[in-house]
Amino acid sequence: MRMTGDGKGVFAAGWRLLWHRWELLCWLAAVNTACGVLGALPAARQLHRILGHTLAGEQLFKGFDIAMFYELVRVPEAGLLRFTNPSYLMAGLFALLMLLISGGVFESYRLDRRLNTGEFFAASGAFFWRFVRLALMSLVVFGILGDAYLDGEKLADRLGDKFANDQVGFAIRLVGVIGLVLLMLFVRLWFDMAKVRAITDGEHRMVPNTFKSLEIARQRVLDLLWLYLRISLVAWIAALIAFLIWMRVPPAAIWATFILLELVVLAQLGARMWQVAALTLWYKRYAAEFAQPSLEVAEPEPPLSLYPETELPPADA
């Protein structure tokens, strides 16, 4: 039976919702930038110390001499790789922060209005542990996927040995990578669905929620995967355009390079938020199709009960 939830219009509606709630994206981009600055700061100081008074820097400034960059990495006195830990730390912190505020983000998209600080963090806090459980489960699934991919690589090697054309093994790997990307995208939307359901339906039990979300995602796999894929493609096309522009930017134009790189990051973050917004809208539209009769009728949670100080918007708003 063909269901009606084909997601038509959600792509554009998701974009509009992202645009309406632009402050969320700006906020995340600012935090991401701050993490980037803090992560890069120790390396920047070391670079400044090493390159500040040497002619060697010219080869990196007026072009990009890989040999000189290699020098920075391999010469023990420079030891640039020693400064990767702060970057890893800040990247990890950002991921944790995203997990922490996911509740607020999803809720803001669900209500399609600006939450004040108290509301935002109240929602974040209310859903934090549920989202942590979902994150742990998604990491297990991603881990299984990664492991399966490694096994697939070995299989590709074995299959490749059996064919006369020595490209076969490589082609199998390539197909495997594409398959992996699609599977990862599916897992992402599956757990995003679980988050949306937790927010929208007030689901508390994350294991049943996960299975139900999988069922919904499976039923609408083509529509939803295409929705997520299209949004990702927009981000990657933006990155490609930025790369093509960057190729034409003079090597010494640091500010232009910096702005282009930040736009790439913004496009990726924006695409991620767009996916969340679009999925939230999609579920709002089609949730009724997936409602299942239950013997035990749970008392629905008032969606705004978490924020007693909030005034309810007019019913027809």
Partner: protein, 654 residues
């Protein structure tokens, strides 16, 4: 019927007479015996593709040219290295070889082996029971890569002894540049090979993970029986081929004045032929590749032509009639980048199966390097176990020169999307982390690690020779290499022979350099410690500095941070455009230069012509008065971007 009978006898006759009428193994203008032919191998082998194994009978005639009676003969059985508990396996595992780490999960069938079925000495009987495995390097009782045989009576000086050995060689899945992958086979180090009597003793090392081989010159007549649809390439030239009528064929090869014999086969090979017109006549270039590597074919031929022409002009002729170039299949990259006499393997790279960007010169770098080994290993046959720098290092230097000539110094390894890298920089990258580990003179197989072996034998040696140009000049060094090649080709020179030749050709006693660069582990690191201008009348109060009028005293201090002593130059630039060059013998720990000028120092640069890649740290070779923030800001921006993207990706997962 008569016609068929006639054709049959014609075919048989053609095969039997083939060696007589066959192509000479040498280029047209080469004649005579080029080496002391100590050994003569005749091998008849049958290849079983399904079992990845060869059953063979080897007849080895050994001429005793040692000047003394010999009764003990050591032999290599290299394929036994691919067995658990072998020295090779231990060392490979210790140094993190991927294949060795996977070894635990290898199927027993994937273990390589050389099994001696019988060992007979003509006139002395079957000596199979006299065979004894020995481990001259590490005493490992489980290593079976060397065995020795004690003859009942010695072989007198000048006499010959004939060994008849029946053996079975089972190849591993491709590892250490030998083995099979699918239907592809690279048969290297596959037959029992006698050691080398060198410097008054047998030199027959166990197979080590780091190092390669050493063998005597001689002749090879090898017949290989294999399935009729298999295409084969090997050392030397093909002298015959016969259809055995049972779906198999036998192909005969002949090689002279070489010290090893390797071959490869695959039914899927495509044969592409070209030739190079060298100073001793045309040389056939036979490329064995795959249809899917079509985009690389012309690149192989172009780099071969370029490398052969330069080596011919610079060092001397390539005397053989043919060079076989093998482009291994995608999944067997470990078969790539290997040299055997008149036979080399390249490597297209995984994405090269479709298209390799023209700016990525990896195919050219590898091919030029492996061809260079025809000179530095193939003809000048140094001991690769002990002095790997003599073949790998000198060859890396030659490779840099070939690639620089083809693509320019700064883009010889990579010229892609605005990013450039010279081949010398790539080799320098190997050298930098191991600048203070092993000396060149240390027996290579005892080097600290795989990284140290590669960094020292390839990278450091290339840097030493490039830096040597600063003392004796590029052309003189080229002349010295030519003299070394012409004098020692088809012999086994020592490292002292090489250094002595350079001394003689340059007319300089370079022992001070060799002592540090070859025998020592001194680190080469010179730095600009200080460059500062202050008003000469600094003691006067309230003086105003006026550009072009105020007299400044400029102090420049150069420092020798490492223990390697070397004369260096420095260029001092002032803000009025004036420039001064200073020379320093580099012996003291530091030197001070003082100038009084109506200008301030703008920059100081050591080694301004960038002639000393042996200097371990380029970053301290200069000092500029005005702070330069461009490079650090640029890299910091990239760093920040990568951090942000990593943060985004991690957040995507949760």
């Amino acid at each position: 019927m008569q016609l068929r009978t006639f054709l049959f006898f014609l075919a048989v006759g053609a095969f039997c007479c083939a060696p007589l009428a066959a192509q000479s193994p040498f280029a047209p203008k080469v004649s005579g015996v080029l080496s002391q032919r100590v050994v003569a191998y005749q091998i008849e082998a049958v290849y079983e593709p399904k079992q990845h194994a060869v059953d063979a009978t080897e007849t080895l005639i050994y001429r005793n040219l040692t000047g003394q009676p010999l009764s003990r003969f050591p032999f290599h059985l290299y394929l036994n290295a691919f067995q658990p508990k072998s020295t090779w396996m231990y060392e490979a595992h210790r140094d993190g070889s991927i294949r060795a780490n996977e070894f635990a999960s290898w199927n027993q069938k994937e273990h390589g082996s050389n099994e001696i079925i019988s060992f007979e000495v003509v006139g002395m009987g079957d000596l199979s029971k006299q065979m004894k495995f020995i481990s001259p390097d590490d005493g490992n009782p489980d290593d079976k890569t060397v065995f020795e045989v004690q003859l009942p009576r010695p072989v007198a000086p000048g006499q010959e002894v004939q060994f008849r050995i029946k053996f079975r060689a089972r190849f591993p899945e491709v590892v250490a540049r030998t083995g099979y992958k699918g239907s592809f086979l690279l048969a290297g180090q596959w037959f029992p090979k006698v050691g080398v009597w060198w410097n008054g003793a047998w030199n027959c090392h166990q197979f080590h993970a780091l190092t390669e081989f050493f063998a005597d010159f001689g002749t090879y007549d090898v017949k290989i029986t294999l399935p009729g649809n298999y295409i084969i390439g090997a050392t030397g030239v093909q002298t015959g081929e016969s259809d055995n009528g049972n779906g198999t064929k036998t192909v005969a090869f002949h090689a002279e004045d070489v010290h090893d014999f390797a071959w490869t086969t695959d039914p899927n090979f495509r044969v592409i032929e070209s030739h190079f017109d060298g100073s001793v006549g045309p040389v056939k270039i036979r490329l064995l590749s795959y249809s899917s590597h079509r985009s690389s074919w012309q690149r192989y031929l172009d780099v071969m032509e370029a490398a052969m022409r330069r080596f011919d002009q610079w060092y001397g002729p390539y005397p053989y009639a043919q060079i076989t170039v093998v482009d291994p299949p995608h999944a067997s990259l470990e078969a790539g980048g290997m040299e055997y006499p008149t036979f080399i393997t390249g490597g297209t790279g995984w994405f090269g199966t479709w298209v390799v960007p023209k700016g990525d010169h990896e195919t050219e770098v590898v091919t030029a390097h492996e061809f260079g080994h025809q000179y530095w290993y193939g003809m000048v046959a140094t001991n690769e176990f002990e002095n790997a720098w003599l073949d790998e290092g000198i060859n890396s230097y030659s490779e840099v020169k070939v690639l620089d000539g083809m693509y320019g110094r700064n883009a010889s390894a990579l010229n892609l999307l605005g990013a450039q890298m010279g081949d010398r920089d790539y080799l320098r990258g190997d050298y930098l982390p191991v600048a203070e580990t092993d000396s060149l003179a240390r027996p290579s197989y005892t080097d600290m690690s795989w990284g140290a072996y590669g960094g020292v034998s390839y990278g450091k040696t290339a840097m030493i020779l490039l830096s040597l140009e600063a003392i004796i000049g590029e052309q003189t060094l080229r002349n010295a290499l030519r003299a070394y090649f012409l004098k020692y080709r088809f012999t086994h020179p020592t490292q002292e022979d090489f250094m002595r030749t350079v001394n003689e050709v340059s007319g300089q006693d370079l022992s001070w350099y060799w002592q540090q660069a070859v025998y020592g582990t001194q680190v080469f690191d010179y730095a600009v410690l200080r460059a500062k201008s202050t008003p000469a009348n600094w003691y006067e109060k309230d003086t105003e500095e006026k550009p072009g009028e105020t007299l400044y005293e400029t102090q420049v201090i150069l420092q020798r941070k490492g223990d390697f002593v070397f004369p260096v130059e420095a260029q001092i630039k002032f803000d009025n455009g004036e420039s001064v060059r200073e020379s320093w013998d580099g012996k003291d720990r530091w030197v001070r230069f003082v100038y009084q000028k109506k200008a301030k120092v703008e920059s100081v640069e050591l080694d301004p012509d960038h002639k000393l890649p042996l200097d371990r740290n380029y970053l301290n070779n200069s000092n500029v008065a005005t702070e330069q923030l461009g490079a650090s800001h640029k890299i910091a921006a990239y760093w920040m971007f990568l951090t942000q993207m990593l943060a985004y990706l991690l957040s995507w997962l949760v």
